[in-house]
């Protein structure tokens, strides 16, 4: 890496969005200072670096902030490239379009209903969200076959854009299983994703970055409590 590159990543261990950015940096093999934010007491640096959303992750490269997880991942992919450096997005424009399509699908269609399981205020709502999530994972099971073409990851031999987009949610998918006994990914219903999830978790980058599932479970319980409190005070 060039001598004076300064990389700092503001994040929170359990945030899937921070996980994406963090894993991207690890995959590229570049050194980066990782700063854990306290979301109840956000740092001046976070607030001034992301004035629009005030959210993590924020990547600060030589003092300049980049926000939004998928924007960060693409930026890291473009800045750190070349011989021997793993690519996160493919080079072919059509394959890039397919990767972007599925990453957008994860964020627009899958994530909102997955999160809805944790934020549900009634058992009925939880069941509804779980049903919607199980429906939303199906196209991804199909997409895996199409994208991977028999290889280990959506991107092929190594972790790529869609792998990061969906893989960053695996900790939460497992947390949801522990909290509510709801299985979003299973060997029986989504065999390809189930096998992929294991491979993802076994990767060096995941091992370095992914938090313990129990941390997500604890955070989930906090989110549940906050959601009920907010509803009760209305």
């Amino acid at each position: 890496m060039a001598a004076k590159e300064e990389l700092k990543l503001l994040g929170v261990d359990v945030s899937p969005f921070a996980i994406r950015a963090h894993m991207a940096v690890v995959i590229k093999g570049v050194s980066c200072e990782y700063v854990v934010e306290d979301l109840s007491n956000k740092s001046e640096l976070l607030l001034s670096s992301n004035p629009v959303y005030k959210k993590v992750p924020v990547l600060i490269h030589n003092g300049k902030p980049i926000c939004e997880s998928l924007v960060i991942v693409q930026y890291v992919d473009e800045i750190f490239s070349g011989d021997g450096v793993p690519s996160i997005l493919p080079t072919d424009p059509y394959e890039r379009a397919i990767a972007r399509f599925w990453a957008a699908y994860v964020d627009d269609k899958f994530f909102p209903v997955l999160r809805g399981i944790v934020l549900a205020l009634t058992e009925q709502e939880r069941v509804e969200k779980a049903t919607e999530t199980l429906a939303a994972i199906e196209p991804l099971e199909e997409a895996f076959a199409m994208c991977s073409k028999g290889k280990a990851f959506f991107s092929g031999d190594s972790i790529g854009y869609v792998d990061l987009a969906l893989g960053s949610l695996l900790v939460w998918i497992e947390a949801i299983r522990r909290m509510y006994n709801i299985e979003i990914i299973s060997a029986s219903k989504t065999p390809r994703l189930s096998a992929w999830a294991e491979r993802f978790g076994e990767s060096a980058a995941a091992k370095e970055v992914l938090p313990e599932v129990d941390k997500a479970v604890q955070f989930g319980k906090m989110l549940e409590a906050a959601a009920s409190a907010a509803a009760a005070s209305k």
Binding site: V52, L70, V71, Q74, E78, Y94, R96, A97, F101, A104
Partner: protein, 235 residues
């Protein structure tokens, strides 16, 4: 036009998302076949090309479909990199900024406008109005930051953010007649107001934007339909 390239765009004339694709194709000087879809009776081709969402726009290039407006615009820019304008900036940091603001338009601006006009309660619509005010203020700042005093988000020439925001221009113009609101009020967001005029007047843009009176007609029909449904539902 690039030789033997087969470009087909499945769309609906009033859709701002379809307009984005048209703007990108037009700004790059690309020829394509346009297919108007009847969204109440979607074609086999549309359903087959976008099985996940069944929505327009879909760009079909040499038989291969690309879906989602922002994905389509980036694809057009990358697949036809040598042709016409470059929509994404060449500098990676500026590219990141462009992608950030394009996402902001879809994640914050559009939903706030939808809430303002279609919120089911007055409280929701008022919330939408507040959120819209914040969103356009942020975009005004974005235009200042990205353009650096030049005419477009893209600088001297229109680029990615211009196209993504430009897709909304037809409805922005119709909004004044429909709701008495100019989302890009020259008093509050002078840069955006000037940008809207300037971008809209471009030779590659002006003929592509749907006619305002037709949009107003469609919106009024929708409003009447929704009102009738609400009245029927409450009987």
């Amino acid at each position: 036009m690039a030789g033997a390239e087969d470009l087909k765009l499945l769309g609906m004339w009033a859709s701002p998302f379809v307009l984005r694709a048209k703007l990108a194709l037009s700004l790059k000087g690309l020829n394509y076949e346009y297919v108007e879809e009847d969204l109440k009776n979607k074609s086999e081709l549309l359903l087959k090309s976008n099985p996940v969402h069944n929505k327009v726009p879909v760009l079909i290039h040499n038989g291969k479909p690309v879906c989602e407006s922002t994905v389509i615009v980036q694809y057009i820019d990358e697949a036809f990199a040598g042709t016409g304008l470059s929509l994404l900036p060449s500098d990676p940091y500026e590219r990141a900024l462009a992608r950030f603001w394009a996402a902001y338009i879809d994640d914050k601006l559009l939903p706030s406008w939808t809430k303002t006009s279609r919120g089911s309660t007055e409280e929701e619509r008022a919330e939408g109005k507040e959120q819209s005010a914040v969103a356009v203020e942020n975009l005004e700042g974005a235009l200042r930051e990205c353009s650096k005093g030049k005419p477009f988000f893209g600088g001297d020439n229109p680029g990615y953010v211009d196209v993504i925001l430009g897709g909304l221009l037809g409805w922005v113009r119709a909004s004044e007649e429909l709701y008495g609101i100019n989302p890009f009020d020259p008093a509050k967001t002078p840069l955006l107001a000037a940008w809207a005029e300037r971008f809209g007047a471009l030779e590659a843009v002006d003929p592509v934007i749907p006619e305002v009176n037709k949009l107003v007609e469609v919106a009024k029909m929708m409003q009447a339909k929704l009102a009738a449904e609400a009245a029927g539902a409450s009987n």
